[in-house]
Amino acid sequence: MKKRNPYLTVGLVMTGILTALIVLGFFWTPYDPNAMAAGPKLTGPSLAHLMGTDSFGRDIFSRVLKGAGTTYGIALCTVAVGAVCGTVLGAVTGYFGGIVDDVLMRLGDVLTAFPSILLALVVISLLGPGKTGNVILALGLVFIPSFARMARGTYAGLREVNYVKSARLMGASSSRILWRHILPNTWSVLLPALTIGFNNAVLAEASMSYLCIGVTPPDASLGYMLSESQGMFMSAPWYALGTGLTLVWMVFGVGLIGEGLQRRGGGEV
C-alpha cells in the first residue's frame, strides 16, 4: 500500500482548482459574464481579460467560469440520477433475480442498443429542448442501464457469499442486507464508475449543447459556448480554445481521480 498513486493526487488537485474557481464564479466573476462591452471587442488574452473578449466585448473568462459551473452542475445531477436509480434497480433485480430481473435487463439491452447521444437526443426532443431539468432527466435516463448492470453484477455475485448468507440466517431483512451488508462492499466498483459516469455526462451534455439542443442561454454551458465560438474562430480563436481547454481540464482531472481510485481499489491497471 506504500505504492505511490500520483493519479489520485494530480486528479484531485486539478479538480480541486477547477471546483474552487467554479464555486468562486457563483459569487464573483471578474466581469458580469453577460455584460456587453465589458472590454474592447475581440481582444486576445491579456491581464485584464484572461481569455480575451468575444465579438460583443464580453469577458470570456467570466463566461467560461459560469459555463463550467452549468456543465459541472448538470453532470453531477445526471450522475446522481443515473447512479441512484441504476444502483437501486440493479441491487433489487440482482439480489432477487427472477422474471423482473429478466425483463429489466432485456429492456436495458434495448436501451443500450441506442448510442447514448442518440437516446439523449430522442428523449430531449420528447421532453422539450433547452431546459436544464430536461437535459438532466434525459442524460440521467441514458446512464441508468450502465449503473444498473454494474450494481446487478456485484449484488448477484455477493448474494451467495457467506457473510450475506449468515446475515440472512440471523433474520436480517432483505432491505437491511441490501443496504447495510452489500452496499459498502460495492464502493470499490461504484466509485470509479461514478467518475467515469461523470465524465461521460460532461461530454454528453457538451455534445448536446454543441448541437444546440442542450442547455441554451442565459445558462450557456461549455458545449453551447463552443458552438458559439466556432462561428468566431477566425476572429477570436481564444474563445474556442479557452472554452475547450476548460472542458478538457475538467474531464482530465476527474478521469485521473477515477484511475487513481481504481488502482487503490486493487483493480488492474
Binding site: V10, F114, G223, Q230, V251, E268, V269
Partner: protein, 312 residues
C-alpha cells in the same frame, strides 16, 4: 448453429422493440409535422386537412403496422421534408456515414493495436496513463474545431464545410473524411490502447505464462504464441463496442465538419419533425450497434468455441 440462430433472433427482436419505441416516442411529441410544413401559413383548418392528407390522424399502431410492412418490402415511406422516398434520400447519406465509420475504425485499429502491444511492456506506466486519460478527455467536437482550424484554415489541406461528395471526387472526399475520422478516433484509440495493455499485462501475469517463461521459452515467443491469442476475445468484443460508439461519435462530428451523413440528417430531421426519416435513421443506427455486438460475439465463438455455453 443454434447459437447463431438465437443471436440473430435476439437481434431482430431488439430491432423490433427499438423501432416500436421510436415510433411511439415521436408520436407523443407535442409538435405537429403538418403545422411545421405549413410554417407561418398555418391555420387550424389547414393543419387538420394536411394531417388527414398525410395520414397522421390514424391510430399510431395502424401506422406502425404499415411502416413495418413497408420496411420488409423495402419501402420506408416518404420524407415530409423532402417529399422523396426515404430510402432514396438516405442511401447516399448512409454511404457517407459508412465511409466515415470505416475510416475511423481502420484508423483506430491501425494506430491502437501496435501502440497497445508496445505499451504492454510495462514501462513508463505513469506517462502512458496520463496520456491515455488526456486523450480520453478531449471531446471529438473540440478536436474537430481544432483540426478544421489547423488543417483546414491554416494548412488548406481540405475545405471545412465543403464536402466534395463521394460520387464526384472520391479521393478528396476520403481526405475530408480522414480529418473527421481523426477527431472521432483520438479518444477511442486511447481507450483501446488502455484495454489492450491491461489485457496483455494481466495475461502475462498468469501462471501458464510464467511457467512457460520459467521453462526457458523466449518471452517474445510466448507473447506472440499464447498471450495474443488469448487476448483476442476481449479485444474483439471491445472493437465491437468501438464500432458502435463510432456511430454515436459521428453524429456530432458530422455536425462539426458539415459532413452530409446520417447524423447531420438526423439532427435536422428531429428539429423539422420529419418522422419517417428520423425513424429510419434511428433503426439504421440501432441496427448498426446491435450488429456490431452480434458480429463480435459470432467472431469470438469462432475463435473460442467454448464461448457459446458460458456467457452471452
Amino acid at each position: 448453429m443454434r447459437y447463431t440462430a438465437r443471436k440473430i433472433l435476439t437481434l431482430l427482436v431488439t430491432m423490433l422493440v427499438v423501432s416500436l419505441l421510436t415510433f411511439a416516442a415521436f408520436d407523443m411529441i407535442s409538435g405537429d409535422p403538418a403545422a411545421t410544413l405549413l410554417g407561418t401559413q398555418a391555420t387550424p383548418e389547414k393543419v387538420e386537412a394536411l394531417r388527414t392528407e398525410m395520414g397522421l390522424n390514424r391510430p399510431m399502431l395502424v401506422r406502425y403496422g404499415e411502416w413495418l410492412a413497408g420496411f420488409f418490402t423495402g419501402n420506408l415511406g416518404v420524407s415530409f421534408q423532402y417529399r422523396q422516398p426515404v430510402q432514396a434520400l438516405l442511401g447516399p447519406k448512409m454511404l457517407v456515414t459508412l465511409c466515415l465509420s470505416l475510416v475511423s475504425f481502420v484508423l483506430i485499429v491501425v494506430v491502437s493495436l501496435p501502440l497497445g502491444l508496445l505499451s504492454a511492456n510495462g514501462k513508463l506506466d505513469g506517462l502512458h496513463t496520463f496520456l491515455n486519460q488526456f486523450c480520453m478527455a478531449v471531446p471529438p467536437f473540440f478536436t474537430g474545431i481544432l483540426i478544421s482550424w489547423c488543417f483546414g484554415i491554416c494548412l488548406r489541406a481540405f475545405v471545412p464545410g465543403d464536402f466534395p461528395g463521394l460520387d464526384r471526387n472520391l479521393g478528396k472526399s476520403l481526405v475530408y473524411l480522414f480529418f473527421a475520422a481523426v477527431s472521432i478516433a483520438i479518444p477511442r484509440v486511447a481507450m483501446t490502447v488502455r484495454m489492450l495493455r491491461s489485457t496483455v499485462i494481466s495475461e502475462m501475469n498468469k501462471p501458464y505464462v510464467r511457467t512457460a517463461i520459467a521453462r526457458g521459452n523466449d518471452r517474445r515467443q510466448v507473447l506472440w504464441g499464447h498471450v495474443l491469442k488469448n487476448s483476442l476475445v476481449p479485444t474483439v468484443t471491445f472493437l465491437g463496442q468501438t464500432m458502435a460508439e463510432i456511430v454515436a461519435g459521428s453524429i456530432v462530428v458530422e455536425q462539426v465538419f458539415s459532413v452530409p451523413g446520417l447524423g447531420r440528417m438526423l439532427v435536422a430531421s428531429i428539429s423539422s419533425q420529419d418522422y419517417p426519416v428520423v425513424e429510419a435513421i434511428v433503426v439504421i443506427l440501432a441496427f448498426w450497434v446491435v450488429l456490431s455486438g452480434t458480429l463480435a460475439d459470432l467472431v469470438n465463438r469462432c475463435i473460442d468455441p467454448r464461448m457459446g455455453g458460458i456467457g452471452k
